[in-house]
Structures are given as C-alpha cells and as structure tokens.
C-alpha cells in the first residue's frame, strides 16, 4: 500500500493522542484507587468503628428488649395465674389431698 507522508503523520498524531489519553486514564485510575484507599482508612478509623459498634449495640438492645418483652409477657402469665388461684380451686385440690392423707 502506498501511503502519503501526510497520512503517516496523521496516524502518528492519532497514536500519540491515544497514548496520552491512556496515560491520563492511568493517572485518573491511580487517583480513584488512592481515593478509595483513603476512604478505606477513614472507614477503618477507630471513631468510625466506635460509631458502628454503638449502632449495633443499639440494634441488639432493641432486639433483646423485644425478645424480653415477649418472654416477660409469658412469664407475666405465670405470675398472673398465681395471683388468680381462688380458694375454690384450692378447696378442690385440698379435697383430693384429704382423701390421700386419711386413706390407708
């Protein structure tokens, strides 16, 4: 193929432009990564971990409280029952016990 000098120059210029763009992209890529590293350092900073920990503790506390209120409700049923035992019910049981105490 016969190529003119002008055309060769044009191709060389295009190649140079592309190389420059790639170099620029590499620099930008490095900056993106650096920025991410810096953000990662921020994330791993003690204050941030402390904040996360506090958020989790608060979440756990709510969970525990919910779990306990559920359990408390059931345990309250037990307590309520004890308070609701009537003399009539005790009479019934006492009658059964009387039979056993006085029988052979």
């Amino acid at each position: 193929m016969v190529v003119s000098v002008g055309a060769l120059v044009k191709v060389a210029m295009a190649e140079r432009e592309v190389r420059e763009k790639i170099e620029k992209a590499k620099v930008e890529a490095q900056q993106i990564i650096e920025k991410a590293r810096s953000r990662a350092n921020e994330i791993l900073k003690e204050e941030n971990i402390e904040r996360l920990k506090n958020e989790l503790v608060e979440k756990y506390r709510r969970e525990i409280e919910k779990e306990f209120s559920e359990r408390k409700m059931l345990e309250d049923e037990e307590l309520e029952r004890l308070g609701l035992i009537t003399d009539e019910e005790l009479e019934d049981v006492a009658e059964i016990l009387l039979e056993v105490v006085l029988s052979e």
């Binding site: 790639i22 991410a36 996360l52 609701l84 009387l98 006085l102």
Partner: protein
C-alpha cells in the same frame, strides 16, 4: 471515508476502549477496597458489640429472673400455705365428727396399728395430743385386744406425754430406740411432698413452657373423636388428632396446631392466665398470618384460658370470633377423657 481515516478512527476507538477499561478496572478495585474496609470495620464492630450484647442480655436476664423467681416463690408460698390451711380445716372437721364421710376413731386406730406394726415390739409408748391421748386411755384394753388380733401378737400400750399434733400418734419403744411418727401432720407433709407435681399442675403453678407442653401432649392423646362442652356451653368435637405442632415467635403465637385425621386443623391458644380481648385479638391475627403463609384454613379455634375470662365482654368476643373456650374445669374434663392427669 479514506483508508487512512479508517485507520485513525480504529486507533481512536481502540484507545477510547482501553481508557474505559482502565477507569472501569480502577473503579472496580476502588469498590473492592471500600467494600473490604466496610466489611472489616463491621466485623471489628460486631465482635465488640456482641460482647456488649451478651453483657446486656445477661444483665437483663438476671434482673428478670430475680424478679420473677422472687415474685413466683412468694406467690407460690402464699398459695401453698393457704392450701395447707384449707386442708387442715377439712381435717379438723373430720376429727370433730363434722364430716360424715369419715370416722376419726377408725383413722386414729389405723394410724396406731401402722405404728405398732412398724415398730414390731410388744411394749409401745403412745404419744398423741391431749384429746387423742384421753381417747386411747379410756379405750386402752379395747385397742390392745383389737391390735393383738390385727398384728397377730400381744401389744401393751402405755401412755406417753401429750404432744402438739393435730391428730394421729407418735409411737416408740420404752427405750426410745425405735420411733414411728404416725401423726396426721406427718401424713400431710408426706402427701404434700409426694403430690407436689400434681398440686402444681392442678393449680396451674407451672411454667408457661410446661403448660404449653402439657396442652400439646393432651391434644396428641386425642386418638378418637371426643365431645366436650366448652365454658360457653357449646359442644366441641375434637379428633382423632394426627399431629400437633406450635408456632411461637415474633408476632405470631399459636400454641398448638392440631391436624385431625380427616384433614381439619384446630388452632389452639393456651394461657395460664385469663382470656382477655388483647389475647383473643393476638390469637386472631396469628391465625390470619398462619393461614396466609401456609395457605391452609383452620376448621376450629380453641382458646384455653386456665384462669377463666377477664370479663363478660371477652366471652362475647370469643363467641363472635367463633372460638371455643376451655378453662381449668374443661381442661380437667378433657384430660380425664384422654387418660392424662392434668
């Protein structure tokens, strides 16, 4: 487009693609770096938070347990004390001859005979309260003759000191090396101890977990069709039941889901306390959730309230909701029908 222009276009296109690739790879890497950092941070925070969680849970558990145990023990003691009082009132009636079903003289003789048999000696020193001691003194020869017949050997009774007991006797050999306590008080202690599990069950002095387990066991024992009257006077037909499960957790509470052999599903809510509007509502919502999630329809709903209903309104709510109500009385009836002691 000339050939050269085409080459240049391709060079530029390739270049742009490469640039895009570089930036995208960097973004991916950046994203990974941040994600990893977030994951690491969360792991560290979680590790520390879990330790605190345990501490909080243990502290709350201890506080709750202490509160519950103290209250429970106090209330149980009060009720058991009252039960003993009632039992002693009944015993006093028997001793005073005010309960026609029993003859105290016969009971006293039986206790004396048991003690004589247990000691196995001829000479027996009998201690009792003043009243019974007087009875033994005035009927001594009569009692000795009857004892001789019953135990098959000679028995010499001598009167000991009066003791502070409700009834019955405490017998010993003259040397005191053998003593047998056949007092009513000792029988009461023994029976109360031996029957403590029965007393707890019959009075609903058990934990909620135990109560639910008893309810599930009872439904599991429904092997054939059973008809009972509920506390609202309606006829309730149950069984035969094939399997029983339960759903408890979060907002849903169905204490027993009983699958009948014919395909029917009986939903059961069981509380040791009373039926209240709130509990009925919660049960209703739980059933709706269960039906929506499983796609199965209940055939009957049973509300078990060991301590009855809070008010008449609740009975109306139960009727409107087409729920059968079983209280302590109906539960005892049902347990008898399935051959289980409640």
């Amino acid at each position: 487009m000339s050939e050269v222009e085409e080459i240049i276009r391709k060079i530029m296109e390739e270049g742009d693609k490469k640039v895009k690739e570089i930036i995208e790879a960097a973004r991916r890497e950046a994203e990974e770096i941040i994600k990893k950092a977030e994951k690491d941070a969360l792991e560290i925070a979680e590790k520390e938070a879990r330790i605190i969680r345990e501490t909080i849970a243990n502290r709350m558990m201890d506080r709750e347990k202490r509160r519950l145990i103290e209250d429970k023990v106090r209330l149980k003691d009060v009720k058991i004390k009252r039960l003993r009082e009632i039992l002693y009132e009944k015993i006093e009636k028997v001793i005073g001859g005010k309960d026609e079903r029993w003859s105290y003289e016969k009971i006293l003789y039986r206790l004396l005979r048991d003690a004589v048999l247990e000691i196995g000696e001829e000479n027996i020193v009998v201690s009792a309260n003043k009243r019974d001691l007087e009875f033994i003194r005035t009927h001594k020869s009569e009692l000795e003759t009857k004892l001789e017949e019953d135990v098959g050997r000679k028995v010499n009774l001598s009167l000991g000191d009066p003791v502070d007991i409700t009834g019955g006797v405490i017998c010993a050999t003259p040397s005191g090396d053998k003593i047998f306590n056949a007092s009513i008080d000792s029988r009461v202690d023994e029976v109360m101890k031996k029957m403590s599990a029965f007393i707890a069950r019959r009075l609903g002095m058990v934990s909620t977990a135990r109560f639910r387990s008893l309810i599930r066991q009872m439904f599991e024992k429904v092997r054939e069709k059973i008809k009972i009257k509920d506390a609202l006077g309606r006829s309730l037909e149950l069984g035969p039941i094939d399997s029983v499960e339960s759903i408890i957790g979060g907002e849903t509470r169905i204490d027993a889901i009983c699958k009948e052999v014919g395909g029917g599903i009986i939903m059961v809510f069981a509380t040791l306390s009373q039926a209240t509007k709130e509990r009925v509502q919660r049960f209703r919502e739980s059933i709706e959730k269960y039906e929506a999630s499983v796609g199965a329809k209940k055939s009957k709903t049973v509300f078990i309230a060991f301590s009855g209903v809070e008010s008449k309104d609740v009975m109306d709510v139960l009727r409107e909701s087409d729920m059968y109500l079983l209280t302590r009385k109906e539960l005892i009836d049902l347990s008898k029908k399935v051959g289980m002691e409640m």
